[in-house]
């Protein structure tokens, strides 16, 4: 447990912290988190991913490490290493409540205070290996307990890089995202930029791009609120397929090399890096 005014213990060796937020569920926070993490790893950074979606953690599956477990060392919890550091790539490690659950179908039915306690523990008792260049925090939808808890803990971890806001193009989603932006303002999270996900679908039969959820909502939103716009990611069924077919031999990060979304996400990550946010340490 962290005490007032102290940097949460797990964050002492973290250079940059990014949050991935969205008011609405199912817009692709976890998929944006996954891809952003891989893009940073490909640039040689050591990346840690923290999944604080306690009631619906999907990152273990996204990275194909569902059956792994968190180990316990004397210093605290050791995250699951998804990809070790290589000559060209940085390392990627993950911590998620998903690892602590017995079976993939058991539910975590927790009320707020318990979730808050768990998030605190994630920020104080996890020992990230070495120095992390980036810690990406994936959040559940909404603006409630988890968000208040993470905001409270991060208050002592300034400066943060800030939040990446994910939306889909339709009005229903941007309406919720506005709420999330207001939340960020209230708790003092800077907004790194807005990403519009599921922006159009390329028909594999005729290559015609259809806007399932219309298009342009994210860009309009960022213009209106004067926020940086990071770009739009179309729906690519092949990415979902990659997530589902990855294995120890065919790692997602290798499959992703051929994904059409890769250059798009890399472009977004470059825009984030160009903001040259000061490192925490």
């Amino acid at each position: 447990m962290t005490s007032e005014g102290q940097v949460p213990r797990s964050l002492s060796n973290v250079r940059h912290i990014l949050l991935v937020l969205s008011g609405k569920g199912g817009v692709g926070k976890s998929s944006v988190t996954t891809q952003t993490a891989m893009a940073l790893v490909n640039k040689g950074f050591n990346v840690g991913v923290l999944d604080i979606d306690l009631t619906g953690p999907s990152l273990p599956r996204m990275f194909g490490v569902e059956l792994h477990q968190i180990h316990q060392s004397r210093a605290g919890w050791v995250p699951v290493t998804v990809y070790p550091r290589t000559e060209t790539r940085g390392s990627l490690s993950l911590i998620s409540l998903g690892f602590l659950l017995g079976s993939r179908s058991s539910s975590v039915v927790w009320r707020g205070p318990k979730k808050t306690a768990m998030i605190r523990q994630f920020l104080s008792d996890v020992v990230w290996t070495g120095t992390l260049d980036y810690l990406i925090i994936d959040t559940p939808p909404g603006t409630s307990d988890e968000h208040i808890a993470i905001a409270e803990e991060l208050r002592w971890a300034q400066p943060l890089d800030g939040a990446i806001i994910v939306t889909t193009p339709q009005q229903v989603a941007t309406a919720d995202v506005r709420k999330e932006i207001n939340f960020c303002k209230k708790v003092g999270f800077e907004i790194v930029g807005v990403v519009e996900n599921m922006s159009g679908f390329i028909c594999p039969h005729c290559a015609e791009c259809t806007n399932i959820f219309l298009s342009g909502g994210g860009e309009a939103l960022s213009k209106q609120l004067d926020l940086p716009y990071l770009g739009n990611i179309p729906i690519d069924p092949r990415f979902v397929e990659m997530v589902e077919t990855q294995s120890d031999e065919n790692k997602l990060i290798d499959l992703y090399e051929k994904c059409e979304l890769k250059p798009i996400v890399e472009g977004m990550v470059t825009k984030v890096l160009e903001q040259n946010k000061p490192a925490r340490i």
Partner: protein, 333 residues
């Protein structure tokens, strides 16, 4: 798993198997009788507990609001929850579709209660974005999308659409209780409850508050890919733990028909067999599959009924079949 994992710090924490809120706080001493017990604050286990005095003084017995909710809910024939573990799979769209379809029968009175406090989408979907609610001596009056379709959502209470509701659990629970207790629903044939994703405060509260009045069943919404199904399994686990009957599963966004070449493709690939396989595995009925139709999103943004606007769409056909099936399962047809 967790039982074997020693915890690094003394935060009270265990994967919950006790679901409906017991009255024993997490950090209570061993053998705590529970804060609602008549023995609260008086047993030997209470000695030395910092809350002993408070417990000994407070009112005892079950929540006095529950009978009030029960009385209010007596005029509601059927209460149906729309649930899903994952966000953005179409709970609100389905809730709206179900309500529009039910309300198409002028004989029926239908209500929607939106308990998604942090991201209420129902006002927009029902074309009631600018509505507010009125208070009278007998309670809050819901907004009406049409004569026989009442709608209640926190969206009606926010001064501005973009205002964020940054509430912790207990405050959300309070509002949900008020929605059940203080809203003048009148005589309803169906009350459809739209929920936020997950299995947390809102879900526990609605179940707890409707314990006496009874929930007729839950409809689970999912999309075909495994990431979503995984969360739905958790939701099924939740329903079974708290004892809500599951009416069935709806697979939404199931396939996409390209408007220009009519070629069908899977946007969310059912790598593990989709909802069909999961339903079979878990012995739950698959109520139907709704294909993606880009026009659904458009009518939603305008607050119109998709079913009325595009009656020829395969999605409309699927919706109507599902609604019929739900009514049959509830024994109403």
């Amino acid at each position: 798993m967790l039982a074997t994992l020693p915890l690094p710090s003394p935060v009270p924490f265990a994967v919950s198997s006790e679901i409906l809120p017991t009255t024993v706080p997490d950090n209570a001493p061993e053998h705590c009788p529970g804060t609602e017990s008549t023995l609260a604050g008086k047993t030997s286990a209470c000695d030395g507990c910092p809350n002993q005095e408070t417990c000994a003084e407070g009112p005892k017995g079950p929540d006095p609001d529950l009978p009030v909710i029960k009385a209010r809910m007596e005029s509601v024939k059927r209460k149906v929850l729309v649930l899903s573990g994952k966000g953005g799979v179409g709970k609100s769209t389905f809730t709206a579709g179900l309500a529009w379809a039910l309300a198409a029968d002028e004989e029926l009175q239908t209500g929607i209660m939106d308990v998604d406090i942090c991201g209420p989408s129902i006002p927009l979907l029902m074309g009631l974005e600018n509505s507010t609610i009125h208070t009278s001596a007998s309670g809050w009056s819901p907004a009406y999308a049409q004569d026989n379709l009442a709608v209640m959502s926190i969206g009606f209470m926010l001064p501005r659409k973009s205002d964020a509701v940054i509430w912790r659990g207990p405050k959300k629970n309070g509002l949900i209780k008020q929605f059940l207790k203080d809203v003048e629903w009148g005589d309803l044939d169906y009350l459809v409850v739209d929920t936020p994703p997950g299995t947390s405060d809102e879900h526990l509260s609605i179940v707890q508050y409707l314990k006496e009045a009874g929930i007729d069943g839950a409809v689970l919404i999912t999309t075909p890919q495994e990431v979503a199904l995984q969360d739905v399994r958790k939701e099924i686990d939740f329903c079974r733990k708290v004892g809500i009957p599951i009416l069935g599963i709806v697979e939404n966004m199931s396939g996409f028909v390209c408007p220009s070449c009519k070629g069908e493709s899977e946007i969310f690939i059912p790598s593990t067999g989709g909802a069909q396989a999961m339903a079979q595995e878990l012995g739950i009925e698959l109520l139907g599959k709704v294909p993606l139709d880009p026009r659904i999103g458009m009518t939603c943004d305008k607050g119109l009924s998709f079913l009325d606007e595009y009656p020829e769409s395969p999605a409309t056909v699927a919706y109507l079949d599902i609604v019929d099936r739900i009514r049959t399962l509830l024994g109403d047809e």
